[in-house]
């Protein structure tokens, strides 16, 4: 097949790639053909017929969006026939879309914000549409340049507007039924929360049974809004605002690294986030956190001045005063008594300066990211493979024939990571295996859902390894070439016969075997793991077992394969890369290695502390024990629960860099105003190792400072050299010079797009797959699997474990949606699933009303259903819609910061008398 097809559009010679349609080739070549239903990135649909063209030698007028290009084709898009058809189609369309302004004779004279008094009815004006000035329909009609005579009768639909669902409004009076939203929901997101309803002139978009989005399975990702060409779908916040300018940046709300366009209005408010279709980490997709969770950047509560505690009260102070107080306060605590916790949203520059500050100014290695409570995610990987990050790339998951997801609520915590998995599963039937005691969204797509007793995940993966070796399904060539220790592994698995594994985990042997066969045979395969609800003492063993599984199946170092540790903090990956970790200097040089310390110390002109640092978990413990006395915390963190706050308030000196006066800031000795991501300039490194720029969208007051600048000033005030940075690019230059994996990167390079490290030199295009050239000099050492430990005892008063679940839709469940203060809420009795033996012990029958009481004091009312699979484990599955309503109603300044997770907790069941 030729690489290029040459053809002609309106006399212009155009080159196209094979398989492209006329419209795609025309768009690439910059030739304008109007279109409404086509959207780049989705399959051609052929409904709007605005893109009709004539092809020489062909019949009629084919739609250019569905007609593939053929060599030497002669396409004409401006013949009288095409023009007449285009006008006919648009006139028909206008008969059901408010178009007063479009057909007004004064349109050329009218300014964009004018309110006219006489020419057009109020309800038909474009200026009363939330999409005014960014409406594709209007642009199309104007570009086509037809005069609107409109012989057809105009009919306003007069439908009520849906404003009761969370986050976005739906006004189907403006809908042109192009079905872009329906297709985005189906093709791109795999949700099918919205669909076409009715047919003929009555056809419209809606939900399948006319239900609220809360019930229909909407994940509130906003993909439909981004593709809507008219004002039918719009975000509710800042609905009517117009953008003054826009900026491409990286989403600060999770580690996936989605690229998006931030629209900013003339009052410097971030009004809208639109997924960037060129973003390699997200392919245009965002999620509820990125789309509807960035308003914190605009909040009036933002701190504008430093606060210093005087006489027990925090009072405003100048930077100079605040820095003096900090310098004095920190001086007695140099060394191991000092710890610094970076924010999950700290940029690489922030994190780099933070660790440099802690090490050179304060002489302490206790520097970490505040969300980094599961370092085992990566440490386990580093032990066996020597890498400290995901070995593959997110969108290569589209090509993975099997994906194993272990204890991760991917759809909620790393939403866009789940998109390629769902797409691949729905398009090509690629296999999904989920290991999780909880019912999460991906379990609905899973070909196999293994639901082990909580705490027995290691034994389960061990069982899969055993089944795999028993049936001799391993990739023998790969194991022979690249692994050692197969004998030890096999020997360790001798304890794990499947009968025993079934006894321990509660997962049937047949399912374990099936999982082993599936994962071994469907290659390439990828493993995603977040270690949710895995006890800290089991985490390393579980990661080792998963790496064993990847190695035995040869799924390391190949495209579409690999291991993906799903870290929770947005820039945890980058923070570790640049040395913001207790045991690593920049570039993963071990702190314990004297040569490494010397090397880095030389570059910094300082001598580095050798005492091992504390990670975030140990810092909190150290605070409680009094070993840690001064703590500096950057930003709020989802992991700051009451217990953590309690520990942090025991510090003798606490410095907090914050956007808002958070619970933590209220406990501080000094609070420094921190600029938000929208005011920052820097870079994030996503969990697939992609280094991407964070660009400034709105200006900051002089007092609102990024952490790197605040720390640099503090260092200078404390008389330490080496912190004379002018801008973040300079910081990045310094860290890149120090780190081989970042050496080829600079802010200038990143301004052209993200790059996956390692990128050792300037011309290097980045590395999508780690270990592609083999496992280095040595072989990977397979780690034996420990024999299963006795499961943790639950407290006697709370004998059962609750595995909470959350899914997008539960069509089988009756529910009611009620309107509370103008917003839809799901109202229903939850169902608690329990094992018949537990039910018998408690004297509970199906249908009884129970109260589920947790140690925390939380109580949930639920109807008993005796469908539980495991004795001792109960589960309640709620709807994502319920969570969305909660988030919509939240009054927290940063509503997506603390999205309630799904934690397995000990509970007890109590019967409630029927009311």
């Amino acid at each position: 097949m030729p690489d290029e097809i040459t053809f002609t559009i309106d006399g212009v010679q155009v080159k196209a790639k094979p398989g492209q349609t006329i419209l795609q080739a025309a768009i690439d070549a910059g030739v304008y053909i109007p279109y409404l239903c086509y959207f780049p990135g989705m399959k051609p649909y052929g409904a709007c017929r605005a893109c009709l063209v004539e092809v020489e030698g062909g019949r009629g007028a084919p739609a250019s969006c569905t007609t593939p290009v053929a060599p030497n084709m002669v396409v004409k898009s401006d013949t009288p026939l095409v023009k007449a058809l285009r006008k006919g189609v648009l006139e028909l369309l206008m008969s059901e879309h408010p178009h007063g302004c479009l057909s007004c004779h004064r349109i050329e004279l009218c300014g964009p914000q004018d309110i006219c008094l006489r020419h057009v009815r109020v309800t038909d004006r474009c200026v009363v549409c939330p999409k005014n000035e960014r409406c594709e329909l209007k642009d199309t009609v104007r570009l086509v340049g037809i005069s609107m005579e409109l012989p057809t009768s105009y009919n306003y639909r007069n439908l009520p507007i849906h404003t009761q669902d969370p986050f976005y409004d739906r006004d189907y009076n403006l809908c042109i039924v192009c079905a872009r939203c329906v297709r985005a929901c189906d093709e791109l997101r795999g949700d099918d929360a919205i669909c076409m309803v009715e047919r003929s002139g009555k056809a419209l978009v809606g939900t399948s049974r006319g239900t609220s989005l809360l019930e229909s399975g909407c994940e509130f990702c906003g993909a439909c809004i981004d593709v809507c060409p008219v004002g039918a779908l719009v975000e509710r916040d800042y609905k009517w605002e117009k953008a003054a300018h826009s900026v491409y940046t990286t989403c600060p709300n999770c580690a996936v690294g989605c690229q998006m366009k931030l629209e900013v209005d003339r009052w410097q408010r971030v009004i809208r986030a639109v997924g960037d279709w060129n973003g390699e980490a997200n392919h245009g997709q965002l999620c509820y956190r990125g789309k509807f969770g960035l308003d914190f950047a605009n909040k009036a509560e933002q701190l504008h001045y430093p606060l210093v505690r005087r006489d027990g009260r925090l009072v405003e102070a100048t930077w100079e005063e605040a820095l003096d107080v900090i310098a004095q306060g920190l001086a007695p605590h140099k060394g191991e008594a000092y710890a610094l916790l970076a924010s999950p949203r700290s940029t690489n520059e922030d994190a780099y300066v933070a660790q440099k500050f802690a090490r050179t100014v304060m002489g302490s290695n206790s520097v970490d990211t505040s969300t980094d409570s599961r370092p085992e995610l990566v440490l386990g990987l580093a032990d066996m493979l020597g890498v400290h990050a995901a070995t593959g790339s997110t969108w290569q998951l589209l090509g993975a024939r099997c994906t194993l997801v272990v204890n991760s609520n991917t759809t909620e915590d790393h939403n866009v990571m789940a998109v390629p998995i769902k797409q691949a599963h729905r398009k090509n039937g690629q296999k999904v295996i989920v290991v999780d005691p909880r019912e999460v969204e991906l379990t609905r797509y899973a070909d196999l859902w293994l639901r082990p007793r909580p705490g027995t995940e290691v034994a389960l993966i061990g069982g899969i390894l055993r089944a795999l070796l028993d049936e001799s399904l391993e990739d023998k060539d790969f194991v022979y070439k690249s692994c050692e220790g197969i004998e030890e592994l096999t020997r360790s698995l001798a304890h794990l016969d499947l009968v025993r594994v079934e006894g321990v985990t509660g997962v049937p042997q047949a399912s374990i075997r099936q999982a082993a066969r599936l994962f071994a045979k469907e290659r390439p395969g990828a493993i995603l793991y977040a270690l949710d609800n895995v006890a800290s003492e089991d985490r390393l063993a579980l990661v080792h077992a998963l790496v064993d599984l990847a190695l035995l199946t040869g799924n390391v170092g190949k495209p579409s394969s690999g291991l993906f540790p799903l870290r929770s903090g947005t820039n945890e990956q980058g923070a570790w890369d640049v040395g913001c970790a207790p045991s690593f200097l920049p570039g993963y040089r071990p702190v314990a290695d004297a040569a490494a310390r010397d090397e880095v110390g030389k570059a910094w002109g300082a001598s580095l502390p050798s005492a091992p640092g504390l990670g975030v978990r140990s810092v909190l413990a150290g605070l409680r024990e009094g070993r840690v006395k001064a703590v500096q915390v950057i930003g709020d963190s989802p992991t700051f629960d009451a217990e953590a706050l309690d520990a942090l308030s025991q510090a003798q000196f606490l410095v907090v860099h914050e956007h808002f006066l958070s619970d933590l800031a209220k406990r501080a000795n000094v609070v420094l105003p921190l600029s938000t991501f929208a005011q920052a300039q820097g870079s994030y490194t996503s969990l697939e190792r992609r280094v991407q720029l964070v660009r400034r969208a709105r200006s900051a007051r002089a007092e609102e400072q990024p952490a790197w600048r605040a720390l640099a000033q503090l260092a200078q005030r404390m008389g330490v050299k080496g912190f004379e940075y002018q801008d973040p690019g300079q910081v990045f230059g310094e860290l890149a010079a120090l780190m081989p994996a970042y050496r080829g990167l600079s802010h200038e390079r990143l301004s052209k797009g993200g790059v996956q490290w390692p990128c050792p030199e300037e011309g290097h295009s980045g590395t999508p797959v780690l270990l592609a050239e083999g496992l280095g000099a040595g072989k990977a050492k397979l780690t034996p699997v420990e024999s299963p430990k006795a499961p943790r005892e639950s407290p006697a008063e709370y004998p059962l474990l609750l595995a909470p679940g959350r899914v997008l839709a539960q069509t089988q469940r009756e529910m009611q949606v009620v309107s509370v203060e103008g917003l839809n809420r799901v109202q229903r009795d939850e169902v608690v699933e329990l094992h018949p033996s537990d039910a018998a012990a408690l004297g509970v029958a199906a249908g009884d009303m129970l109260e589920v009481a947790a140690t925390s004091g939380a109580r949930i009312r639920a109807v008993a259903s005796l469908t539980g699979q495991l004795p001792g484990v109960v589960s309640i599955t709620t709807l994502f819609g319920q969570l969305a309503s909660q988030l919509q109603a939240s009054s927290a300044p940063d509503r997506m910061l603390r999205v309630p997770g799904l934690e397995v907790v000990p509970v007890r069941l109590e019967k409630v008398a029927a009311s």
Binding site: A61, G88, L92, T152, N155, L159, S200, K202, G210
Partner: protein, 584 residues
């Protein structure tokens, strides 16, 4: 152990002779949907009761539809030593008299007797002499009304599966393909595309699996020949489908039937099961290396799901909306695999073509339209029914000789042919030859074969409104020209009928029509203007009178009789009245 065809055939013939030449009278009652509607089941019960009361031994079979709708309920009786006698309009009331006269006695009541086949009975005409019968050349419907659609042996006894046996044993797939191509068979679904050519597209693909799809959506009002064939002789379709699979290398056949066509669904499923039990469907058919699976798939009620790509969408469980072409189904069809889709009628010709040869089939009909047309008559016609006639007759011959003309001494005003998307022919076009191309140039299409006759009391505008209302209601709502164009056409016609037409309305309809005809995604929109266009051509006077004098020539368009159709989304009523659409 596979049955050889000869063994099957001799077994079947033995069974058939046991019935036809047996010692007892054999009574066949037509209980297809047309018979049932006329009360055939009550007749059947009455017959059984009467025979029981009189203690007469007889074999009673339920057969399909002979095509003579005007004669339903139709009973035919074969007595030992007598020819087969057809008795018309046998309602339960006349059953005792019938039994008395012909089963107890020997003289069929001349008032009931329609005709005989295979011999004479004094006082009863021969069926062959009836114009409704003698003009017919029954190929696809050859067994209809004769065999029991629930017994595969009846079909085999009539030469069934001989074509398949010939194809499998004597011919290679390319030869079968060539035979079909040479026969000149064209698709009976409406587009009249040459079947052999269509099959060759599929045969050329080397992707596997390939599918043969059979379309029995049959949503055209006034068309009932697909259902008629499936309810009377589903085996001929099955045989044709297997031959098509053999010729094209397909491995699966799916018969797609509209939900609610209960008779065809049940009988086709049963027929497939019977064929499978005899080794005629499944692995290694008739001991050959060829394997072919078949199944029945149901669709929701939507006219557009009869469009080939919409049908595939529906089969995949999606909303029945047409796909855009290219890619064509022969490359990317059902589940993304190469597929061929034919109408029931088209496939039903294939067994006879293979069994009797392309030459024989090509000898019937006109130069470009080979074979026969299966016409469904309804409306203002004396003898409504399903008649298989050779191409080349004029429409006048068909209407007047077979259909018996317009009853009640009224004048024929128009013919509505080929379903609602077909068109309206005025009486002036009666001498058009029955031929795909001649019909098209006359401004209508033969389409699925339905012909609805309108007499002088029919208002052309009202009829057009009726057709457009159907097309509008059935538009799937995908492409803009059809979704909106149909809606506007209907709204304009409704206002013309209500006496509120505007002078520019005809021009407006033409403009919309052009956008639809060229701009629409599928045939529904492309042909959607046909009823208006052909009506405007033939009955411009009617429109003029409605527009200028604000009155209807026939009085049919009285605004009191018309409630405007709901064509747009509204906030109350229907789907939109769900609780989510609450005004606030």
């Amino acid at each position: 152990m596979a049955n050889t065809y000869d063994a099957l055939a001799s077994e079947a013939r033995k069974r058939w002779e046991g019935l036809e030449k047996g010692p007892q009278p054999w009574i066949r009652v037509g209980t297809a949907i047309c018979g049932k509607a006329a009360g055939a089941l009550e007749t059947l019960e009455a017959l059984k009761a009467e025979l029981g009361r009189r203690d007469i031994n007889a074999v009673i079979s339920q057969v399909g539809c002979l095509g003579l709708c005007f004669a339903e309920p139709l009973v035919d009786i074969t007595k030992p030593g007598h020819p087969r006698v057809f008795l018309k309009n046998v309602t339960p009331e006349v059953v005792p008299a019938l039994v008395e006269s012909y089963l107890a006695g020997d003289r069929p009541d001349p008032g009931l007797a329609l005709g005989t086949l295979g011999g004479n009975i004094p006082g009863v005409p021969s069926l062959e002499d009836l114009p409704q019968w003698k003009r017919q050349v029954r190929v696809a419907t050859r067994n209809c009304g004769t065999i029991d659609p629930g017994d595969i042996h009846h079909y085999i006894a009539h030469g069934g599966f001989a074509g398949l046996a010939r194809a499998l044993t004597e011919m290679q797939p390319p030869q079968v393909l060539q035979e079909v191509t040479q026969s000149g068979l064209r698709g009976r679904g409406g587009a009249a595309f040459p079947t052999g050519t269509k099959w060759s597209f599929l045969a050329r693909s080397n992707v596997s699996p390939k599918y043969i799809l059979v379309n029995c959506e049959e949503g055209d009002p006034g068309a009932f020949n697909d259902k008629g064939i499936l309810e009377s002789d589903p085996f001929t379709l099955i045989e044709g489908c297997i031959i098509a699979g053999y010729a094209t290398g397909a491995s699966h056949g799916y018969v797609f039937i509209r939900h609610g066509h209960e008779g065809p669904i049940h009988l086709t499923r049963q027929a497939i099961a019977q064929a499978r039990s005899l080794g005629l469907v499944g692995q290694n058919i008739l001991g050959s290396k060829f394997s072919f699976e078949m199944d029945v798939v149901l669709t929701g009620e939507s006219y557009v799901s009869g469009e080939e790509t919409a049908l595939m969408e529906a089969m995949e469980g999606k909303r029945a909306m047409p796909r855009s072409r290219p890619p064509f189904p022969a490359a990317v069809g059902l589940w993304g695999k190469p597929s061929n889709i034919n109408n029931v009628k088209t496939i039903s010709y294939v067994p006879e073509i293979i069994a009797r040869g392309a030459k024989w089939f090509a000898g019937i009909g006109t130069e470009k339209s080979k074979g026969t047309a299966i016409i469904c008559f309804s409306g203002a016609i004396k003898y409504p029914g399903m008649y298989e006639v050779p191409f080349g007759l004029t429409i006048r011959q068909v209407v007047e000789e077979i259909g018996g003309g317009v009853p009640g001494g009224k004048q024929l005003k128009l013919l509505q042919t080929g379903g609602p998307l077909g068109g309206v022919l005025g009486a002036a076009k009666l001498d058009t030859v029955l031929d795909f191309d001649a019909m098209a140039s006359a401004g209508a299409i033969l389409g699925s074969g339905g012909i609805i006759v309108g007499d002088e009391t029919v208002c052309a505008v009202d009829l057009t409104r009726n057709l457009v209302a159907f097309c509008q209601f059935e538009s799937c709502g995908k492409c803009f020209p059809c979704r909106l164009g149909m809606t506007h056409l209907l709204e304009v016609l409704e206002r013309i009928i209500a006496g509120e037409g505007r002078p520019a309305d005809l021009e407006l309809m033409k403009a919309i029509g052009q956008t639809m005809a060229v701009g629409s995604l599928c045939g529904h929109g492309q042909l959607g203007f046909n009823p208006v266009q052909s009506g405007l051509q033939a009955f411009a006077e009617d429109y003029k009178m409605h527009l200028e004098q604000k009155r209807c020539p026939t009085g049919a368009c009285n605004r009191l009789f018309h409630k405007p159709t709901r064509t747009r989304p509204v906030a109350s009523g229907g789907w939109y009245a769900r609780r989510d659409y609450v005004h606030h």
